[in-house]
């Protein structure tokens, strides 16, 4: 229908309006997030987290305020009426249901519909605000970038040119090359275990993997006679000439760090460093299980080993070494297993996440046994590393149930300790004979056992200060003494219980008392079942009571060693009166020199360098001190060339050139501060002050005054 075209157009415009507004809100909230994020990033903490948080919050707030989806068709129609006079102010008629229109409106609406369908409505009025938001976002981005990069806003708050205590490596100095050398090409072939290809560089300073083959190709601009490389001031590697004395090459395997110089026709170059990148052994991190795992009875007897393996070049292999320990005391037996991970390590990746499920029964681990295991990994350089030992132990159920302690305990046992056992034995006997005796007899015997149990309970009850059962409320048949008339204490005693009388109670510790009470409770329950003629049901309680009693018995046991010898009484006057004149007094005499200070040469050099700051000319004595320090520094530099080589260079410049440059002195001093260790604070005495004995006299008088 023709009507539908206009209506669709209005709906489409409404949709366009909503989309544009939502887009605009998104841009504005981006704008807000950018600003908040930038402020926090520059001033508080360098993290973009805040910007990320602010964006959705701002978006939700903007959408909640604007509610673009609430735009109605009426408003669109009104807008169209206003903007396009050819619609003749009737576009809103299109929104009304056709049934409600009067004939005039129908005509108008169909006319408008036709016009509207043909009308091209520009995006401009809808998108204007969107464009504004977009441009301001771009401007804001540029502004924030400029704040950080050009104006350095953070410096406004922290002051500019903050000096920072320098602990970082020495500043990089540009390489100086001998003038004869026109170009250099060094190719480094890393060893096979790294899995890296050959690489080339045109700088003399080099860092190579341990064991890498390094090849120098040096081109000179004039023909030279001899050339060699000097490593660590002692090792010569001759450079070979390939053509007419301008192309030279040499090869060397780099194993240890250090420095080297190029010598051309006897002239030595600057020092260049060779750094060695060592291969570190693989790192194993076991995520599960924990260092000590305890598997309770009833838990599934299995362990999942979950580990992460890392290496700088590649992991070649990894295994689990597991040991099962069986038995107790001296009869422990060990069995070792080697378990492989399911994953293969053929790819030699740098990182692996491995898992292994160990079924304990498969390793023959039984209750009471322990499993020890560790993970061992090997990298491509054949370096091994292993984890700590992890322990998995399984709870021993057999020991819990054994009656060892009771059966083979101390020979001499008090009577009441035997009774509970006897009740159990009798009850078991009764159960066995159940089928062969009459019900009446069975019940009778069960009841008798119950009586025995009660007596036993009462006997233990005495330890807790409980009164005997017969005493409660039992009337006394003695005639009342007339003297006791209106004796309140006596009357009270007659009609009350003397529970928990402290006088009657044994002197037990609270823990033992609690256990004793628990025992009595079990006995109560056992008695109840026996009296109900259910000896089978009574047995668990009886057993429990027995176990508790056994514990009590063990706890109260004290072991006293038997002594057979009674020494005679000691005569004090004879003490220390032995003849000692034959005894020689031991005397020892030693001279121990403190170990020579390794850093002595460097410490002395500090003073010389301090002097150079004011007077930059070396005396011959100072020169000797610096020469010694130079040797020490050379040793340091061969161990850590990256750190100490610039200082060594500077030291050599100081030694060779007459007026020392302050920059060189600074460089060397910095290296010395780094190398030297703090001296120990050893005890020392203070010096006297020249006071013609005044203070001495003062202290003397002070002592007299204090008397």
């Amino acid at each position: 229908m023709a009507d539908q075209g206009g209506l669709h157009k209005i709906q489409g415009l409404r949709l366009r309006w909503i989309v544009y507004h939502i887009l605009e809100d998104v841009l504005l909230s981006l704008y807000a997030a950018l600003y908040v994020g930038a402020i926090i990033y520059y001033l508080l903490s360098p993290s973009i987290l805040w910007g990320i948080i602010v964006f959705p919050v701002a978006l939700i707030i903007l959408l909640a305020i604007n509610r673009p989806w609430q735009m109605s068709g009426q408003k669109i129609a009104a807008f169209l009426n206003k903007e396009y006079p050819e619609l003749q102010e009737s576009s809103h008629l299109l929104l009304l249901p056709p049934a409600e229109l009067n004939p005039l409106q129908v005509i108008a609406s169909s006319k408008t519909d036709a016009v509207l369908t043909g009308l091209k409505i520009s995006h401009n009025p809808f998108a204007r605000r969107l464009v504004v938001a977009f441009i301001s976002l771009i401007v804001a981005t540029a502004f924030i970038w400029a704040l950080g990069k050009i104006f350095h806003i953070e410096r406004v708050f922290y002051g500019n040119n903050r000096p920072v205590a320098e602990c970082a490596p020495m500043p990089k100095v540009a390489e100086k090359v001998l003038p004869q050398i026109s170009s250099v090409n060094i190719s480094i072939a890393p060893p096979a275990y790294t899995g890296k290809g050959r690489r080339e560089q045109d700088k003399f300073n080099l860092s190579a993997e341990e064991g890498a083959m390094v090849e120098w190709h040096i081109k000179t601009n004039v023909a030279i006679k001899t050339a060699y490389l000097l490593f660590n001031d002692k090792e010569h590697v001759a450079l070979k000439s390939s053509s007419n004395g301008t192309n030279w090459h040499a090869t060397k395997a780099i194993i240890s760090p250090g420095f080297y110089q190029v010598s051309i026709d006897g002239k030595l170059s600057d020092l260049y460093y060779t750094q060695v990148v060592k291969d570190s052994p693989p790192v194993i991190h076991i995520k599960t299980p924990k260092q000590y795992t305890y598997i309770d009875a009833g838990e599934a007897p299995k362990v999942t080993i979950n580990a992460a393996l890392n290496d700088d070049y590649g992991v070649a292999d990894a295994v689990i070494i597991a040991t099962v320990a069986k038995g107790k005391g001296e009869g422990v037996k060990f069995k070792e297993y080697k378990l492989n991970f399911a994953q293969g390590f053929g790819a030699h990746n740098a990182q692996y996440d491995v898992q292994k499920l160990i079924q304990l029964p498969a390793l023959n681990v039984e209750p009471g046994d322990e499993l020890y295991f560790y993970v061992q990994a090997q990298d491509t350089h054949k370096q091994l590393s292993r984890t700590d030992v992890y322990t998995v132990s399984v709870q021993d159920t057999a020991e819990l149930l054994s009656m060892n302690g009771i059966i083979n305990g101390v020979n001499l046992k008090p009577e009441f300790f035997r009774s509970e056992r006897q009740i159990i034995i009798d009850a078991e006997q009764l159960l066995k004979e159940k089928d062969s005796i009459s019900v009446e007899k069975f019940n009778n015997r069960s009841n008798n056992l119950g009586i025995d149990q009660k007596l036993l309970r009462l006997r233990y009850g005495k330890f807790l200060g409980e009164e005997g059962e017969d005493a409660i409320g039992a009337p006394s048949n003695d005639p009342a003494d007339p003297a006791d008339f209106s004796n309140a204490a006596k009357i009270l005693k007659e009609y009350t219980d003397d529970h928990d009388n402290a006088e009657d109670a044994g002197f037990f510790e609270p823990a033992i008392k609690a256990q004793l009470k628990a025992t009595l409770t079990e006995m109560w329950k056992a008695e109840l079942q026996l009296r109900l003629y259910k000896p089978q049901a009574a047995l668990p309680f009886a057993y429990k009571a027995l176990r508790l009693l056994k514990d009590l018995q063990q706890k109260s046991r004290a072991f006293v060693a038997k002594t057979a010898y009674n020494p005679p009484p000691f005569k004090q006057e004879k003490r220390l009166s032995g003849e000692l004149d034959k005894i020689i007094q031991p005397i020892s005499k030693q001279d121990i020199n403190p170990p020579a200070d390794q850093m002595d040469a460097l410490k002395k050099a500090v003073n010389v360098l301090e002097g150079l700051k004011t007077n930059p000319v070396l005396s011959s004595g100072d020169n000797r001190i610096l020469q010694l320090a130079n040797q020490q520094l050379g040793l340091k530099a061969s161990a850590q060339p990256g750190v100490y080589l610039p200082a060594l260079n500077a030291m050599r410049r100081i030694l060779s050139a007459a007026p020392a440059k302050s920059k060189d002195v600074d460089l060397v001093e910095r290296a010395l501060q780094r190398t030297l260790s703090k001296p120990k604070n050893m005890p020392s005495s203070n010096a006297n002050i020249t006071d013609m004995g005044l203070s001495k006299q003062y202290y003397k008088n002070l002592k007299q005054a204090n008397r």
Binding site: Y158, G159, N161, R162, P163, V164, A165, E166, L576, L580, I583, Q585, P586, I587, S588, K589, Q590, D591, I592, N593, P594, L602, K603, K604, V606, N607, L609, E610, K613, T614, V665, D666, L667, E669, R670, L672, Q673, S677, K678, P679, K680, N681, M682, P683, S684, S685, N686, A687, N688, T690, D691, M692, L694, S695, K696, Y699, K700, L702, K703, N706
Partner: protein, 585 residues
């Protein structure tokens, strides 16, 4: 123009007066006619007087003082008085350049000594103040300049001791300042100071070498000044150890001391009258009896209380004499021996029964950072006046120091410090015993020359050195013989003035002893020096107050404006009368 304006006002007033008078006269009701006309005239006259300036001539008497004003660095131009009778002078060529009106003088002797001197700015140095010849001075001090206004550090150190720099920094800028202590071209310690505040600061480091070193203090990148430090190597002490039985504590202490090159003689009783004696880095001699000669060899005696309290009376007397008169140190290790000994008079020990306290970290010589944990046992020292706690836990004192004549007694209840050594904690063990031994040790024979300065020694500026010396041997500074003056009251104090020509270390030779001191370059510690000058001038001003106030009486003719308020009141009164008169009629 001015004149014609006045005439116009007069003409207008006369016209108005005539008009108002005629209007009053014309009125039908003739009541108060004269009064009304008068009031109208008064109102008009008052109006005219409000508009016109009315002045009268008078003479006043002023007392004007002649002011001599001396401008020094740091004065504020706004604070100068603008009087006729002031003469501005300065000693500083840079001030003359900036203010050409000021008269430049070459020396303080050119000053007129008649009137008191007003000093603006930082003031004068001690040296210049002496030249003023007790002329009264009134100081108008400048504000404290930005930078380090106070500083102090321990410039004489032993190897291993910590260099501590403390001071006050006046930060006048609106930005934070980072103060860095640098040595050997490396930042060693730093602190960030808040803006617009005078903040005390403390920085510390342990110098790693011995000898003369110059540290520097930098604020951000600007150099504040040098911190010259002299670090002496440690000289090993001689220690005598007496123990009641061979025990671990003595054994570890002996090993530790001897491996560091210290001389140790050890005597431990093994039976009645039988001793095990050991001599390390020291010649062998008989140790069975203590004699004055024996003790004279040692700087410190370490002994168990039971050994020291059971010495024979002669030995005990010898020990007392050695401590009190010879300044020997005595370290007493408490044990269960009785409490009556003279050694324990100042250190009552309490040994509460019950559980041993938990191992705790010790505070050694006030070092807040604390040591590793040590089970220190139940015994502790009850504090008494006159003793100094050296080692303590949070609640208990475990070692203390007391003076005994010229020597010192250190008393300690610690008996298992060797467990630190066993546990590999060498550092705490070293710190503890270094403190105990250093505090107790006899002062060595080497006599230190003590040099003090009247002000901060700066190159090309005179400074008075105060040197202590027992004899009157000549003093030579940088190979230049100088003439010192002996202090009249303190005979071993000698004052000499010297002008170092170069900054840096200076030699001072006294007889055959050479000591060194440091002269700072001109551009260092400027705020500190101006603060020093201000302090010196303030002190001088307080000592020489301005007693005779010389003033001159001057008669001066002035024209004074008559206050307008009177005319307003007249106008108001006249108008009020006229208004009321119409109302009541």
């Amino acid at each position: 123009m001015q004149g014609s304006w006045i005439y116009m006002v007069w003409a207008l007033c006369i016209f108005m007066a005539v008009l108002f008078a005629w209007l009053e006269y014309r009125r039908a009701n003739k009541r108060f006619l004269l009064l009304r006309i008068g009031a109208a005239l008064v109102a008009v006259a008052a109006l005219g007087c409000i508009v016109l300036p009315i002045k009268y001539n008078s003479t006043i008497t002023k007392s004007i003082q002649h002011k001599n004003i001396l401008l020094t660095q740091g004065f504020n131009a706004d604070s100068l008085p603008d009087g006729i009778d002031t003469s501005l002078i300065t000693l500083d060529a840079s001030i003359k350049k900036a203010y050409p009106k000021v008269k430049l003088i070459s020396g303080l002797d050119e000053l007129s000594k008649t009137a008191p001197l007003h000093v603006y700015g930082n003031g004068l140095s001690k040296d210049e103040l002496v030249q003023l010849d007790s002329l009264p001075v009134i100081l108008h001090a400048a504000k404290i300049p930005a930078g380090v206004s106070n500083i102090s550090w321990n410039d004489q150190l032993k190897a291993g001791e910590v260099l501590r720099v403390q001071g006050v920094y006046n930060n006048t800028s609106a930005q934070k300042v980072k103060l860095v202590l640098r040595g050997l071209s490396t930042g060693l310690d730093s602190i960030i100071l808040p803006p617009n505040a005078q903040t005390p600061f403390g920085l510390s480091t342990t110098p790693k070498a011995t000898g003369k070193m110059v540290f520097t203090l930098n604020a951000d990148t600007a150099l504040q000044g040098s911190l010259p430090v002299q670090i002496q190597p440690v000289k090993p002490l001689k220690v005598l150890m007496l123990s009641a039985s061979p025990d671990f504590e003595s054994k570890f202490l002996k090993n530790w001391l001897s491996e560091n090159g210290y001389s140790v003689a050890l005597r431990s009783a093994i039976s009645k009258g039988k001793y095990n004696s050991g001599y390390i880095n020291i010649a062998q001699f008989n140790l069975d009896k203590l004699s004055a000669q024996t003790l004279a060899q040692f700087d410190v005696v370490i002994g168990d209380l039971s050994v020291l309290s059971t010495l024979s009376s002669t030995e005990s007397d010898v020990l007392k004499q050695a401590v009190a008169n010879k300044g020997m140190g005595l370290i007493v290790r408490a044990d269960s021996a009785g409490k009556t000994s003279w050694l324990q008079k100042q250190f009552p020990v309490d040994r509460p029964s019950g559980k041993e306290p938990e191992p705790a970290s010790l505070i050694i010589n006030g070092n807040k950072s604390g040591s590793g944990k040590l089970a220190y046992g139940p015994a502790y020292i009850v504090y008494q006046d006159g003793t100094q706690p050296l080692v303590k836990t949070k609640e208990r004192i475990l070692a203390g120091l007391a003076l005994y004549g010229s020597g010192k007694i250190v008393f300690t209840t610690l008996n298992n410090t060797f467990s630190w050594m066993l546990g590999g904690n060498k550092q705490d063990y070293t710190e503890l015993w270094s403190v105990l031994l250093s505090k107790a040790a006899r002062k060595n024979d080497e006599v230190k020359n003590y040099i003090q300065f009247s002000s901060l020694p700066v190159s090309n500026e005179p400074v008075v050195l105060q040197v202590s010396q027992g004899s009157s041997s000549p003093i030579v500074v940088n190979n230049e013989l100088i003439a010192p003056a002996q202090n009249a009251d303190i005979p071993f104090e000698w004052n000499a003035s010297y002008r170092p020509s170069n900054a840096g270390w200076q030699n001072l030779k006294q007889g055959d002893k050479i000591s060194t001191w440091y002269a700072y370059p001109q551009n260092e510690w400027k705020p500190l020096r101006s603060a020093e000058k201000t302090a010196a001038t303030t002190q001088y001003a307080a000592l020489h107050p301005n007693r005779h106030i010389v003033t001159k009486q001057i008669q001066q003719k002035v024209r004074i404006d008559v206050p307008k308020i009177y005319f307003y009141i007249l106008l108001l009164a006249a108008c009020t009368f006229l208004w009321i008169e119409t109302k009541i009629s």
